[in-house]
């Protein structure tokens, strides 16, 4: 065994600079995300979407209404938020749960940098596993007629941003982040949203649809929210959730095992 003596270092009061990306944090995050068992859902759901699209196309041919039904009803309403929950909460929740986050936090790396990086990874994973398959499924269903495939893919990508930020934030505040995420995505957005029209105003899915509506042909997509309000709310949720997640991480306490 060999050791060396301690060397002089910068003063302990100079705070580390906050940056938007740390490659090591990113590597640890995506390897953890894609290495877990629940990552199987990341692969299974998009595969299911493309298989359904291919089957529908083969059985009933290209049809815009059917394409919209599948991309809006299944992909954007169920698949995108589910993948957002897995990627967003999975980017930080399990590390906090099992305590391994200590190895990240006991470093001279700004906590905001850690959150930004994890958010970028979560967004990347959500976009790859939701927006890209939506685009492929859209082309399979109706060959992008009325820009439906591109419009829904853009909506999915936009939703990925907000879902990732929101669910990453959930991951920093609760051990039950996945449950909260599922309740928001499936109960609030899908169920309550379908019964109470007002609830749709507070729905990432509707905000994303408002952006997609702009991309698609006239009347191809519809949203309950106007575009300016949708963009404002998307930005607000993403920024506030990210900032607060960083704030939570800065004050994260680890209770002992005793």
């Amino acid at each position: 065994m060999s050791t060396t003596t301690p060397t002089a270092r910068p003063a302990a009061t100079t705070p580390p600079r906050a940056t938007f990306f740390h490659p090591t944090v990113a590597r640890l995050t995506y390897r953890a995300l894609l290495g877990r068992r629940r990552a199987l859902i990341l692969f299974a759901l998009p595969a299911l979407l493309v298989i359904i699209a291919a089957a529908v196309r083969a059985l009933s041919g290209a049809d815009d209404a059917t394409a919209s039904g599948i991309l809006g009803g299944f992909a954007l309403a169920t698949m995108v938020p589910l993948i957002g929950v897995i990627a967003g909460t999975g980017a930080i929740g399990p590390e906090i749960d099992d305590g391994s986050v200590v190895y990240l936090l006991s470093k001279p790396v700004s906590r905001q940098t850690i959150i930004f990086t994890k958010l970028l990874v979560a967004i990347g994973v959500t976009v790859v596993f939701s927006a890209v398959p939506v685009l492929i499924a859209g082309f399979v269903l109706n060959g992008n007629s009325q820009q439906i495939a591109v419009a829904y893919a853009v909506a999915a990508a936009v939703a990925s941003l907000a879902y990732s930020a929101l669910f990453l934030f959930f991951g920093t505040i609760s051990r039950h982040a996945v449950v909260f995420g599922l309740v928001y995505a499936l109960v609030w957005e899908s169920f309550v949203g379908s019964l109470v029209p007002g609830a749709r105003t507070l729905s990432i899915q509707q905000w994303a649809l408002a952006v997609g509506q702009r991309v698609g042909a006239e009347g191809a997509l519809s949203s309950s929210v106007q575009l300016p309000l949708a963009i404002g709310l998307l930005v607000a949720v993403t920024v506030v959730a990210t900032w607060y997640a960083g704030h939570r991480l800065k004050s994260l306490t680890l209770a002992g095992e005793e």
Binding site: M1, A12, D98, S100, Y103, P108, V109, L254, G256
Partner: protein, 303 residues
């Protein structure tokens, strides 16, 4: 940066007081934080490592506040008690990641792995490691940036005797080099073998502080109680009470045993077998009846 100062620190969780108005200074060298399970050792270490805010008081490293100060980790290395690591990485990848987070690279990671003699298994996944191997890789990750302060929470838990000896030697050397090494343990012998300075914590309070001889004396000079069974209890009792090392003996008829209170621990432990042999008495049971750590520690608190 080498001196940790804990100044009138308390920490409570709801109604439970985990650490109660503790003041201590941890200077360079090896310090053992000794106390029974649940005494507040981990709470203290978490506060020293910046993972818990004190409810009251301050925890500083050479005057710099530790809580919410990420730059402090340039000087502190932490070996947590919890097992969880990035199990999907190999030992080398894990230590390298820790090095990169410090702005360092492969050279430092390789050096840290060499320090803990883990090069032979560095390309295996951490999930395949034994407890001792995990502990050593955790050490490597804490040493990678050559910190002047090292905090270890129950580092010897689950290690076999050989691994324990190796780690002790490493920590001793770190202390000799002028680093501040603080480790917690609930086992007196562990602390005694390694630490030049001991801080004892019992039920959230600072019970004793000093070098191990002082603490040892406090622990061994207290009255010891033994439960002794033999094939001739009364003859044994008569012979024992004649010696000044024994302060009192009770014949416990219900138990069929003697309850002996010894005041001179060293003398009594030598005397008992000799008397038994000289009087032809066969000893059937000799068991300390108050040797639990808790009773030793509560004696210390009272002292």
């Amino acid at each position: 940066m080498t001196t940790l100062t804990i100044d009138h620190v308390s920490r409570w969780f709801g109604n439970v007081v985990a650490v109660n108005d503790i003041t201590m200074t941890i200077a360079p060298g090896v310090t053992g934080l000794l106390g029974p399970n649940g005494a507040g050792k981990s709470t203290l270490i978490n506060m020293m490592g910046g993972f818990l805010a004190p409810s009251n008081g301050t925890v500083t490293l050479d005057g710099a506040t530790i809580w919410r100060n990420e730059s402090i980790y340039r000087h502190i290395g932490i070996v947590p008690e919890r097992e969880a690591m990035y199990d999907f990485l190999t030992g080398r990848e894990f230590v390298l990641a820790n090095a990169e987070l410090h702005g360092l690279g492969r050279t430092e990671a390789a050096r840290a792995l060499a320090t803990v003699e883990m090069e032979y298994a560095q390309d295996r996944k951490i999930s395949t490691y034994s407890k001792g191997m995990r502990q050593r890789v955790k050490m490597a990750s804490a040493l990678v940036h050559d910190p002047s302060v090292l905090l270890l929470d129950e580092p010897f838990n689950g290690m076999d005797p050989r691994q324990r000896m190796q780690l002790m030697e490493l920590l001793r050397r770190m202390g000799d080099q002028g680093r501040t090494v603080l480790f917690s343990s609930h086992i007196l012998e562990e602390v005694e073998q390694l630490a030049s300075h001991i801080e004892v914590v019992v039920a959230g309070r600072h019970a004793a502080s000093g070098d191990f001889r002082k603490i040892r004396r406090l622990m061994t000079d207290r009255p010891h109680r033994y439960l002794v069974r033999s094939d001739n209890d009364r003859a044994l009792a008569g012979a024992l009470i004649a010696d000044p090392s024994t302060a009192g003996i009770e014949v416990d008829l219900a138990e069929g045993a003697l309850r002996v209170q010894a005041v001179d621990f060293g003398r009594f432990t030598a005397l008992l077998p000799r008397i038994a042999r000289d009087h032809g008495i066969r000893l059937l049971t000799v068991s300390p009846s108050d040797e639990s750590l808790e009773s030793v520690f509560s004696y210390l608190v009272a002292a």
